[in-house]
């Protein structure tokens, strides 16, 4: 007997077809809106139509008069219960229902609970609110003006619209680097506000049972245990009397991390009415009030030596946080991981100054498919790198290669203090250049130019920190960013695995079982995976920031190893040898001196329940909590070629090559699915997807007719390649992957379009590169800025 074939049992490296698909393709998923409880009522929210106004009066009498209305909640009623305001995940406060004034369009003003949602909507329309409008602030320049209206007049000691000032890096060292520079390159960008916009909106069903004092909440959350902790702390309910269930989630992308007012109102309504209360957000509510991403102004300078070496970098960011500082991010750094910029490059000195401001826009910055602010950091980095290469007159690939951290330089301390541990940056770049046909491209470009066509090529290379995190620097509400897994092996060798993560499409039910198969030799199909129920799952911090594989996935490997350690003792007992004489191969223990004498892992499992040695605790189950020693640092090289039509400003992607190094791939099929999905969101941001505001603070992008998402028709094809550099500290060598493409992808598209426009004297067009913006750049020869208030022609 020999070791099992790992691919055959669905272990590491198997492109195992997904277990969860069996229900999804039959329409048997169980999303929050599919859940129906006896006696359930329905909640709708009335939102502010204006961006900044004092509330003069709220008249709910007509709403109460509608048959079927059970409860109408206003800010005043919430305030009586001390629930009008709630703490945010960034140590600010946010209004649950407005009391004094509204601070952004779409802010929650009242809510109705009724027998069905149609009645609740009717009743919302019957509420009369009188507003006294105030001057509106829609960008940082307005927010920081001397005569700017004070948005957060509710806060003591808040006399302006500044949320924070923060800095990191070595200011003096960076000054010295600039003093020695042969050339200083500059760039000025706006990364527009965007919305993760999963197709399923947010929602909850709160069910308070007076007879048991237990509160059960079914909700669209990527982090059920954090919600339980937050509900316990905020509502002062005992933690063991709160059960958060996160059922199937129709996409998250960061949008479903924060605590939203709707959740809180449904909980309060259920407690007051002692009936289940369901809240299902509509698309406009989702787009105008829940966690957006980005909205950062980036200005930077790079000190360069003639030979192409980067000596230093200065970054200055101003981030627009909307009306409440409700960023959902776990780091101790005010501007998240913005200073992970340039981690792939060997740069002696760097300094970052960051300022955050309040505006009359929706709150709740989230890490939209990225570790917090990494997307902005890498976009800035790769746009800066391209500008510097252009200023030096150096080939953009060569400029990167000259400045990359070399393979033998790891571990490497970045100028901002992060520790990167592994990578083959040059190799990834080579694979990408070869695949895109870089050597011949300039020739193709010349030929095309002769025919009046504009071709461009854009590169984006980056390593990013994924998998928050180590507990020294990352926590939420003080809770350290570890994760967990609990494994029960039944007597027949079948198993149940539970983790503190929560899948939203990433395929945990499939891949976690593959890690168990790898560690224990149990066929993956014999392992059932459960997540999302705080009454049964071990405490974990949830799924976002590409942390599932780096943290919860590591916990799965570690708990399986604990199981294997006990199984080894059982094997020694069954084989009647000492434990030291037992060897392991996949699926089986054997006697070192007599390899034919062995027992399978399933036989060990049976023995754990039926034939354990004297003194051994029965059963075969365990739990592991994993605190990663560091973040994981995947690397990616994305290269796009585009053709721009100078007559219309329309640009098309000719080819796109992606080279991803995310270490060991658990399920290559799923990894590739993550990359293609991420690249599509990158393309979306580069080409069409943004949330902006007009001068009155109206959200432009409040529905899918204004907020454009690419369809199958526009989305280009992607050619994928891989390089594997295992993570040195992860138990199975894996790194995060879910967000690399969204993070690194946008700069490849923008750099390609800018490359095509090289002859026009244009340095920057802000995303999205809408045809009218590209056309304007071509015809005027000037940069095109995209910050709000929105222009009439966008």
């Amino acid at each position: 007997m020999t070791a099992l074939d790992e691919i055959k049992i669905g272990g590491l490296g198997a492109s195992r077809r997904r277990v969860e698909d069996n229900r999804f393709i039959r329409g048997k998923g169980n999303y929050v809106d599919d859940i129906v409880l006896p006696g359930m009522l329905h909640m709708e929210i009335l939102r502010s139509p204006v961006a900044h106004a004092r509330i003069v009066s709220v008249d709910t009498s007509k709403a109460w008069a509608i048959p079927g209305v059970r409860l109408v909640l206003t800010g005043e009623m919430m305030a009586k219960r001390n629930l009008a305001w709630m703490p945010t995940l960034s140590y600010d406060t946010q209004a649950v229902l407005a009391t004094d004034k509204v601070r952004f369009q779409g802010q929650e003003v009242a809510c109705v609970i009724a027998d069905d949602p149609y009645i609740a909507k009717d009743a919302c329309e019957a509420i009369v609110v009188e507003y006294e409008t105030l001057p509106v602030v829609v960008n940082p320049e307005q927010a920081l003006a001397a005569d700017a209206p004070l948005i957060r007049d509710d806060k003591e000691n808040q006399h302006d619209n500044v949320v924070f000032d923060w800095e990191v890096g070595d200011a003096a060292g960076t000054d010295r680097a600039f003093a020695q520079a042969d050339l200083v390159s500059k760039i000025d960008l706006h990364y527009p506000r965007s919305h993760p916009s999963p197709i399923e909106c947010c929602g909850s069903i709160a069910d308070f049972d007076r007879s048991t004092s237990k509160l059960t909440v079914y909700m669209t959350t990527q982090a059920p245990h954090i919600i339980r902790a937050a509900v316990s702390l905020v509502a002062e309910l005992p933690e063991h009397m709160i059960r958060i269930v996160s059922p199937d989630i129709g996409g998250g992308f960061g949008n479903k991390v924060p605590v939203y007012p709707g959740y809180v109102m449904s909980i309060l309504a259920s407690i007051l009415l002692e009936r289940p209360v369901k809240w299902i957000e509509d698309k406009t509510g989702n787009l105008i009030s829940t966690g957006f991403g980005r909205d950062v102004y980036l200005r930077g300078e790079m000190a360069l030596r003639k030979d192409g070496r980067i000596l230093g970098v200065r970054m200055h960011t101003v981030s627009d946080h909307g009306a409440f500082f409700a960023d959902a991010q776990p780091s101790k750094f005010k501007i998240g991981l913005m200073h992970s910029a340039f981690a792939a490059y060997d740069i002696p000195a760097a300094h970052l100054l960051a300022r955050g401001v309040y505006t009359n826009k929706a709150p709740g910055g989230v890490a939209y498919r990225c570790s917090f602010r990494v997307t902005e950091a890498m976009f800035f980095q790769e746009r800066m790198v391209q500008a510097a290469a252009d200023d030096l007159g150096m080939d953009q690939a060569e400029f990167r290669r000259v400045n990359f951290v070399r393979d033998d330089d790891f571990p490497h301390r970045t100028a901002f203090g992060f520790l990167t541990d592994s990578g083959q940056y040059g190799k990834c770049l080579d694979v990408g250049l070869e695949a895109i046909g870089y050597a011949d491209f300039q020739e193709r470009k010349k030929e095309a130019a002769a025919r009046g066509r504009l071709l461009g090529i854009g590169i984006s290379t980056m390593t990013e920190p994924l998998g928050a995190g180590n507990s020294r620097e990352y926590d939420i509400l003080g809770i350290k960013m570890f994760d967990s897994a609990e494994l029960r092996v039944h007597m027949t060798g079948k198993a149940l695995l539970r983790t503190g993560a929560k899948t939203q499409g990433q395929g945990h039910e499939t891949t976690w079982a593959q890690i168990v198969a790898h560690e224990l030799g149990l066929p993956a199909e014999d392992v059932v995976v459960e997540e999302g129920d705080t009454d049964t799952a071990p405490f974990g911090m949830g799924t976002y920031a590409s942390r599932s594989t780096p943290v919860a996935g590591a916990a799965v490997a570690m708990v399986a190893r604990k199981i294997r350690a006990k199984a080894r003792k059982l094997a020694a007992h069954l084989l009647e040898v000492s434990e030291e004489d037992v060897e392991w191969e996949l699926g089986r223990f054997y006697v070192r001196s007599a390899p034919n004498r062995g027992v399978t892992i399933q036989e060990c499992a049976a023995a754990a329940y039926s034939n354990m040695p004297d003194g051994m605790e029965p059963g075969l189950e365990n739990v592991a909590y994993y605190d990663p020693p560091n973040l994981t640092w995947p690397f990616a090289c994305y290269i796009a070629t585009v053709e721009v039509d100078p007559q219309t400003g329309v640009w098309d992607v000719l080819n796109f090559v992606a080279v991803d190094d995310c270490g060991v791939r658990i399920n290559p099929m799923i990894v590739e699915g993550q990359i293609m999905g991420g690249l599509t969101e990158a393309y979306a941001m580069a080409s069409m997807q943004f949330i902006t505001y007009d001068a009155e603070g109206n959200c432009v992008g409040s529905n899918y007719m204004d907020y454009l998402l690419p369809t199958a028709w526009e989305t280009p094809g992607f050619e994928l390649h891989e390089v594997v550099t295992p993570c040195p500290h992860h138990p199975i060598g894996a790194k995060g992957i879910g967000e690399c493409a969204t993070v690194g992808g946008p700069a490849a598209f923008v750099n390609a379009v800018m490359d095509a426009l090289k002859g026009f004297g244009v340095r920057n067009i802000d995303m999205p590169m809408l045809p009218d913006r590209v056309h304007e750049a071509i015809t005027t020869g000037r940069d095109v800025s995209g910050h709000p208030p929105v222009r009439q022609d966008d």
């Binding site: 039959r26 069905d116 197709i199 996409g251 698309k283 999905g677 992607f718």
Partner: protein, 181 residues
């Protein structure tokens, strides 16, 4: 009438108009009383308890609510239930046969054409309608046919592959049974 939702029966209210709607859903004739303003998507989900049809955007852009009306894809969130009176409706629950999956369902699983699964029912029904009309589509024809259905997870590449997989499987099956394409 009863409420829009059976869980909360409401007293008859003369002020609320009622219409009787008869539809054949997945081959079964169903008759329900509805308010004239009730959307077809809500009748399917809440009245008929077929929750595989999802609602995403309320503006007929995302296509998560796509069902087949007499074989043609429609967005059930922007159609009134009363408009379906006398018609045949196919939802995702009606895709599979008694014992086996529809080739489109198999294709989506085999080619990893879904991640969160929320857009999947609408995608699969749109794909079925395409293949019923055009058993051998090109990649561009698939992309065009699916362009009324949004997906945020997959980037579409694997969805397109899934549909082409299903087309091949259907054609092979048709060839085996001697039926022409």
């Amino acid at each position: 009438m009863t409420s829009l939702f059976e869980e909360v029966p409401r007293a008859e209210d003369d002020a609320v108009p009622v219409r009787t709607v008869s539809v054949t859903v997945n081959g079964e004739r169903r008759t329900v009383k509805v308010e004239p303003r009730l959307l077809l998507a809500h009748m399917i989900r809440h009245g008929l308890k077929l929750t595989g049809t999802h609602t995403g955007c309320d503006t007929s852009n995302c296509g998560a609510c796509t069902v087949l009306l007499d074989g043609r894809p429609v967005k059930s969130c922007t159609m009134l239930a009363v408009q379906a009176d006398g018609h045949e409706v196919t939802t995702v629950e009606g895709l599979a046969g008694q014992s086996e999956l529809h080739p489109v369902q198999e294709g989506f699983k085999d080619e990893h054409g879904l991640q969160c699964g929320f857009c999947t029912p609408g995608m699969m029904l749109t794909a079925k309608a395409l293949l019923d009309e055009n058993p051998d589509p090109t990649e561009d024809e698939v992309r065009w046919a699916l362009s009324g259905n949004l997906c945020r997870c997959t980037g579409y590449q694997n969805i397109v592959k899934s549909v082409l997989w299903a087309a091949r499987k259907q054609r092979a099956a048709a060839g085996e049974t001697g039926a022409g394409e």
